[in-house]
Amino acid sequence: MPKTIFRGGVRELLKEGGAQLVDVLPSEEYAESHLPGAINIPLKELNRETTARLRRDEPVIVYCHDYL
């Protein structure tokens, strides 16, 4: 089950190293603004091929725009 994480937790995981940030917004929104180092895989495009570049043995943090 995915775990909900908050800002402090994200910062800790990033500080520890290895965590991968995935922005699941449409590419136009990603181009405007995203977290440093995040890669863009829009929700509609999340599949085996697009996620092949992610390391399966490291944490993955997903985010979008806000809570909604």
Binding site: P2, I5, F6, R7, G9, A38, L54, Y63, D66
Partner: protein, 160 residues
């Protein structure tokens, strides 16, 4: 959207998946770094003075005034141990009863804005309301600094 993405990733075999539910709005509102085309837009967080004096609610107004008077500041932000903004002491408040505590003399709940607010937009709002300064805090209420409208206006003029 991110919860669905997190579940999808688990379904694809990723074992350690986290959903940063408050997402990028929360990150940027806390004044944390941004990448992308909007990263070059000046924000309130860029202009805010982080050296604004602070005091605790229990400090005596006289002591606070003594500390602030020796600086270029004429106000002091009252914060708790987490640096969360509780109130503001303006010059008039600082010059009031020196034996009163900051909590007794402060103005409660000053208006605050987030550091990722574009400077131009903020200046426009402040002009309309005739506001000279605004406190900048994270979404959790933690003090980032104080932005003077005049400073932001100068910056906008220089960039124009």
């Amino acid at each position: 959207m991110s919860p669905r993405a997190a579940w999808r990733l688990e379904g694809l075999g990723f074992s350690e998946v986290y959903d940063y539910a408050p997402s990028k709005v929360d990150w940027f509102a806390a004044g944390l770094p941004m990448e992308g085309t909007l990263a070059s837009v000046p924000t309130v967080g860029d202009v805010a003075r982080r050296d604004v004096p602070t005091c605790t609610p229990a400090e005596k107004v006289g002591e606070v005034y003594g500390r602030v008077r020796g600086t270029s500041w004429d106000r002091c932000v009252v914060v708790n141990e987490e640096r969360v903004v509780l109130g503001l002491l303006r010059e008039k408040d600082l010059a009031s009863d020196p034996e009163a505590t900051a909590e007794e003399a402060m103005r409660f709940g000053p208006t605050t804005v987030r550091p990722d607010t574009p400077t131009g937009k903020m200046v426009e709002r402040m002009r309309k309301r005739g506001t000279a300064f605004v406190l900048v805090t994270t979404p959790d209420g933690e003090l980032v600094g104080l932005m003077y409208r005049e400073t932001a206006e100068h910056m906008s003029d220089e960039q124009a």
